[in-house]
Symmetry: C2
Subunit: 350 residues, 2 copies
DNA sequence: ATATTGCTTTGGAACGTTCCAGACGACACG
DNA sequence: CGTGTCGTCTGGAACGTTCCAAAGCAATAT
């Protein structure tokens, strides 16, 4: 508790220190920082010099207290899913942090109990620790969205309000159907006709959306889809099992999967049977995870434009926190296809 | 700018609100929250009731201002390395966030210019936005450590002070040499005798440390290492090239790699040559990334105990921020080996 | 000459909390 | 009965910033 003078870090300079050095009032220094055009140019220069000399930076806590804003954005992260390929969240976090920085915001991470989707939000909100939230895990409806909405808490969702299309909160999402259509068309263009689908259980909105891209692309070319689809859990083992069954029963020459995790399951089956991914059977995944990028012979995968998503999310946040708040419509972005060996006859070659 | 009453979120209750409701002074409420044992039990109960009723939670900004502490820990993250397997950082972030929560802290992420290792630290420090930092990227010495040390900024490093063993800051690290020795011994136990090493360039402290584990394990069994080692950049292509050369020139039957990324390069070479990982040639990686977990037939990999690392880091942080600060010695943790198909004769089977 | 306007600068109050010194009553001790 | 001590509670000040209203001053308009 004792403050040993000189040993602890020197207290950072305050507004008053700068004011004294520049020979002006505190308020003038504040204006120099926040409204420079209010000052006469010579005083501005003098104050800026003093700021520079002292290495002054406004104290965050004081500023937050006065302005009732923390410039922090809360993002809840769940425990890592071991044995899963898609670390999509991580790529998004990186993009979000970088984009937020340009907007003068920082990202506050908090942990969540996977069983309680609301845990953590309330405390941060009531203690005014963050200005807004970015909500990501909207895979099964999104209780957070409705809850936060009821609390009048500002938030932007990465993911559409599937269960409530009339929701009014801002959201950004990626068109999964378009992505899977892209993947399927890519395979059809390579001459494949029996393209199978491995996706998630029916209660996943996202899964059904992605699946619809596959059916659409198949039907557009007049190809049947019956017997070519399988719905399982999002694990490597499930993908492996589903692909084994499909290969036996439907003899597909290509697979489109709802995730890289499932696609890796297909690669397992192919390896077991001595089939070469790409040459013998084509495989396309979803998320363009690191796994897809490094597994031999390279897994073709639908890539979400997470950088753009982050940009749109931050844009929406800024609108939301502006005075007065401006909330635009939802934004739907289109993914791209990262083509690799698993879907090209070339086989190996990166 | 206009505040439309009733439409915006109601202002959270303050100490004064609680005090009025409980019929006590502000200070008493504060004590009820921070020093409950100072109050008579009946007043405490009354105040707690009022707190509960109003859903009061202390305002973070005000508390931070007064106590000069933010309960935030800064963590700098770099842009994702595309085409790299090891997302070790992400697993660590998750663990850190969860452990921090238990310690009443949150993690503030900020972005860094990969070229300037110091960018971002200064601003957060001077604006008193964080109490301390967790420094992770100490791969090539660590300018952050010395810089932060000179600034008397509290920080804990994940990574040893390689270039300055007499550094006095707290650190936590994983024994890479032990991990590679573990991996090598595992292979030797399987009957391999010509175990090759693919690691990083000589200027990487971590790389040399890991390599020493391989040589130690080899020499302990009286096996030679000459001609069996290769030092390259940490990319899949490099691992692939290095393994191709080694296979031609030194005829190893197993590979130990400094990273999963390099190990994936080996898998590429094996696939090209029609060799089966595990059955024909064994491969062990480092980091136990998601890639290792899902790639067929499963990549055996050295797994860093990141959960423990996070626990130790937070423990060190708490010591550092205590009054008076207590800084213990560095902590070195031992990794484990996650054995999968790539190093077991069983081949496929998970 | 006086009032008006616009530009620049200023002092005081406020944000919500915790620190500090002191007040109050009860109780024990000399 | 006076005095000291302890346990409990309180009011004022302070943290460093921004908001607000107003003051000073020069130039212009009346």
């Amino acid at each position: 508790m004792a403050r040993i003078p000189g040993r602890l870090p020197t207290a950072p300079p305050t507004l008053a220190d700068v004011a004294e050095r520049a020979g002006v009032s505190r308020q003038t220094v504040s204006n120099a920082v926040n409204n420079p055009d209010l000052l006469r140019s010579d005083t501005l220069l003098r104050v800026q010099e003093a700021i520079e000399d002292l290495g002054y930076l406004p104290n965050r806590a004081a500023r937050n207290l006065r302005t009732r804003a923390s410039h922090l954005v809360g993002l809840r992260i769940n425990p890592v899913q071991e044995g899963t390929a898609s670390a999509i969240m991580d790529r998004f976090v990186h993009s979000l942090v970088e984009t937020s920085r340009e907007a003068g915001k920082h990202v506050l991470l908090f942990a969540g109990d996977p069983l309680d989707p609301l845990a953590g939000y309330d405390d941060l909100l009531r203690s005014t620790a963050v200005d807004a939230f970015v909500v990501t895990d909207t895979y099964l409806g999104n209780p957070q969205a409705t809850w936060l909405g009821a609390r009048r808490a500002p938030f932007v969702a990465f993911g559409r309000p599937w269960d409530n299309p009339s929701a009014t909160h801002p959201w950004v999402d990626v068109d999964g159907a378009a992505g899977c259509a892209l993947a399927t068309t890519h395979l059809l263009d390579q001459g494949h006709e029996r393209v199978a689908w491995i996706g998630w259980r029916k209660d996943s909105w996202i899964g059904e959306d992605r699946r619809s891209g596959w059916t659409r692309a198949m039907h557009e070319r007049g190809l049947p889809t019956t017997g070519l689809a399988s719905r399982v859990e999002d694990t490597v083992a499930s993908g492996r099992g589903a692909s084994a069954v499909l290969l036996d029963e439907a003899r597909p020459t290509a697979f489109v999967c709802a995730s890289d995790t499932l696609a890796m399951g297909v690669l397992h089956t192919l390896a077991e049977r001595g089939l070469a991914a790409g040459r013998d059977v084509a495989v396309v995944g979803f998320d363009d995870s690191q796994v897809a990028q490094v597994v031999p012979p390279g897994l073709t995968s639908v890539r979400q434009p997470l950088e753009e998503v982050a940009v749109e999310v931050v844009k929406a946040l800024e609108g939301l926190l502006a005075h007065p708040p401006a909330v635009g419509p939802g934004v739907l972005l289109t993914p791209t296809l990262a083509v690799r060996g698993s879907s090209s006859a070339v086989g190996f070659g990166s």
